[in-house]
Symmetry: D3
Subunit: 246 residues, 6 copies
């Protein structure tokens, strides 16, 4: 099985970390290829960066659409371009936020998300809502850190996530924690060990759910909402025009 | 007052029709400039086209950000890029779907949306949900037509919208109808006259709500979710890199 | 354009303040007439006062129904008699609570209401729920003050609203503040300046939304829920009997 | 035990029918006094009539507040003035719509309301929502009849309610039927016998729930939302001014 | 009237206390028989104990199904086996959690539950959700005590419930308190006196609601969801096989 | 990896069919052991049978708790005993209804369930609600067949499911179909081929989600709601008393 993991931002080191994390959990025989777009923001912390990265992610998926992948994972915790990519490929497409929410719901009655910047809180809550699982999410919390600042002082990052997670558990009733940024993924097991509750990296969850879909033999419904886009002219976008104008 | 109306698709004739519709309702003294992106899909009927058009719309807004507009209207019924543009400008930004939903809620207890292609139904329902007004929307219905096919047989289009609207009123309990595509806007008064309920063109509603915000002296909250994006490097996007890298 | 603003309570000074506030935001050419009922409570802080004032407000609207107004604004933050007046006139009828909620939703992802007496909290939450926008409202908070006590120590009132608003922003995630009493309206710009988020007076919002409806050419749906009341005998109410018995 | 049943409309024959219905289900030892306001509409089918009747109902409750009643029932299926009367008396106050919804929830997983005029549908749905039990209500349906027209052809009325109830059971999944008008109450057992599901008259339910509250020794919470109104001046309302100005 | 009260756990002293509480509120002429299952857990604090007790409770109900009871009360605050027993008997079946939630909704706009062990919080919230009244419940709170530990230091128990209830009233906006364990029932009036808000014992509420249903002449809908189980073979369960295999 | 699949009913042929279905989708190296309880109903179509089977399922899980399984699947579409078993074992426990709902949400915006008997509709809707995914489920539909009658005329069963599924797709907007009974599982691929949308057997989905949890290294949160039951005396249940009394 070959899974394409698209990191929607253009930080090569994060793409590498995501690849490592995905390979760590992949089943024997699953090949993970991690790529990032040819253009776009270094990190995704705003609606603007989300939208620009979404377009770049679609272009990336389009470029790889005939490369024989069995599934695609979109590795950013606001699930950019998820539904669009479901239209343009025939294989399962899994976002890491929805993946973490689904897995959490299997192991805990209620979960919280702990993310980096505070401005992402409403945006992540909306992402969880799109996954259908808002009823299981008791809070979205954040530490005061930028996405790219995570690795500068890893000990401080872990300590801050741990502290915020404890508040989620004690005050909000969370019984599992979702790490609300792909960059936090590698901390999952260390934090799980410290906190004593499931701590979920969306990348790991998404790889396993992609394997599950492929293994069961189910893929995106193409009957209506995710059916292939109709013939369409794209102005000044030769690549898309070629792909969709027919 | 100067309002910039961005038609997110690249159909010049639709941009022109939108401009006409917006000018028809604008207050004396309100100047309407209607533009469309330099690239992107001819029409927006899928998640893919939505995402590509969103990026193009942001780029368009960015290009005009210092042109002294008092408000921006995004004229596509799935409100692409709405939240992103709120980050990059300081003036009010209004989407036509949310605008129609808000105005409808002032004149009817429940409303329905009637749109073109069936595949847009779930996508428009999600847009209404983002507006906060899902509780007021009793149904999203569609006729079997593409966005660009609307004008080919205008009489048939009107008749189909009228028939579907009557079902919404009689079966779903709608007491107002939202026209779920910017291209349907010019039909609002004719359909209102036929149906005997408010029929709302989002473009008209958005212009009036933009004037309302400006007239009352309120603009987008910049305290958190819509605050200006932080300094950010954009790879292979010189225009965005110049705008955001500082 | 002529807008009738009905202050449902019988405090003449508050009617005057509301009129001033409404005129401050009205478009050139909009005439504001502010009136209050001939009978009823001095202020509205309970369900009882709400209900009595609602009947008095309907009577007031009925008396002015042939005076050529283009829209009616009901200026009390629990929107008394809103739906009834929609039945008895043909022009748009806007409540100040719903108006503030709609405008807030255009400029912020989430808002809070800050009102006067604590006992109004559930009642105002129910009003926001009727507007359809409960999903956008993160909290209703209050200071410990009666409606008529607001003006006794204006500095203390402003300081208390400011403090409670900060809690709403920091603890509840609000990004806009609705002033939950018509009497607080004149403080909107001062508080907006102090807090750095949109601070909304429902009176100002309602006038602009009334202008928007009239300007776009849309009025209350008369197809069912808000259609004119049927012929009806009123016992011991000659004015209503004359109006509705036909 | 003495229960005051207030019919909010001014139809004496309906007050009498309600009294009969209430006495039929009352426990031995429960005295039922049924009254109607001194003024107001003959029947309640609109928001206007609801609001006017609410004020008249409050005045009626106020007049009887020292008459030693153990509970008050408000006998109109949109529960007018319910929360206001809870403020002005210390005994339990039960509305017939909420009563029917509560009892239905004890005997069926889902219920429907069948009412008279179609224009009442959204209004009754809002009433059920206020009761807290919207999640249990699968539909509000209506026959094409005015409140006062019910008795003109009783056989036709029963047949129409029966037919609409069958649709609710078969198409909507209802397993109990609420009669959505006090005037329909006397039909409960006949319809229950025909339909084979619980058919609930709100008057009967309210009397039993009032007895339940009194029997258990619990009354309206006076801690905040339903606490006695504060001292208040009423202009041109000597009775209210005397009652509340102190 | 004869009411069978089933305490789903096997603590005889708790069954006795429940019987006393139920008899205290029962109408003259209502006979209360309180029983507990022949097997099962001493107390119910987990999903496991809930499920085992549910089966034992069904068996208990089945054994008494021909004993002429007019109603059955299930006396454990997570309402075990409620819907099953509705299938196997023809009389009304009332759970104490749903009963308390319904009565609370008649006397307060919002309520909280205060229960014993913290681990029950989500489970009780789910029970309230099943009652249909989640919209009225602002919080489920707990003290740090096991069910059987309640009586060891009654003063400490009362003090802890009182303190937690005050937090619910002041911080969460509760205006009535539900005692979230049958064992807490006898404290209702003492706590009501201390707190100044309605404090509800589900056992008392359930007895009164059972009397209400019987008195009004309504019982469980047998049309579909609660209809008698079809003929069914039970393996190694002779009592059930005899009852259901026919 | 060893997965224990518990069929909660006592139909040996269904246990065998479930085992076959589970093995068909299991990863190489995954061992499936399928068992059913030593006692209980032949099939599960009512709340009563659900509750009795739940207790029997718990006993079955308890008996196997030290047999080294890596995960447990509960193979009945109303997920009996799911939360209880999460308390008594340390490995992931997956229900087939929740599993199908989660997988469907990854491949379709909205899904419907098609089940056997009509009386199960509300019960299955409640099960989906417990999974957290009610927002994704547009309908629960049924054919007129008992669980054990499924295999009597397989062609008729397939045809009925297909017809009902088409209604769900065309009228309700479903884009994936969940087979609402473990006995329907073997029909998944045939129906998927006929309908052209994902058709999900919960057994297949649950096995893959169990593998996903184990593969990612996450198990049930034991911090609160699903923590091991406390020391507890069980009356007349030696096996449980031995297990839990310590």
């Amino acid at each position: 099985m070959k899974i394409l993991v698209i990191n929607p931002n253009t930080s090569a080191s994060m793409t590498e970390a995501i690849a490592t994390e995905c390979r760590r959990v992949a089943a024997p025989g699953t090949v993970i290829d991690a790529v990032s777009p040819a253009y776009g923001p270094r990190s995704i912390e705003t609606h603007t960066e989300d939208a620009i990265a979404a377009a770049a992610t679609i272009e990336t998926a389009l470029r790889h659409r005939d490369d024989g992948y069995d599934a695609i994972v979109v590795a950013c915790f606001i699930d950019p371009a998820l539904m669009a990519i479901r239209e343009i490929v025939d294989v399962p497409v899994i976002g890491i936020a929805e993946a973490a929410a689904h897995v959490a719901s299997l192991v805990a009655p209620k979960f919280s998300v702990v993310t980096v910047m505070r401005r992402l809180e409403h945006q992540i809550a909306a992402t969880i809502d799109r996954s259908g699982l808002a009823a299981r999410c008791v809070s979205v919390r954040s530490i005061d850190l930028s996405v790219l600042g995570l690795e500068e002082d890893l000990d401080a990052t872990i300590a801050a996530i741990e502290a915020e997670s404890r508040l989620a558990i004690e005050q909000d009733g969370a019984e599992a924690i979702l790490l609300g940024c792909a960059g936090l993924g590698p901390l999952d097991k260390e934090l799980q060990s410290r906190l004593g509750v499931p701590v979920l990296d969306g990348c790991g969850c998404a790889v396993k759910l992609a394997e599950a879909c492929v293994g069961y033999g189910v893929t995106t419904s193409k009957v209506l909402s995710y059916s292939a886009p109709p013939v369409k002219e794209y102005v000044n976008m030769p690549e898309f025009d070629a792909a969709f104008r027919g």
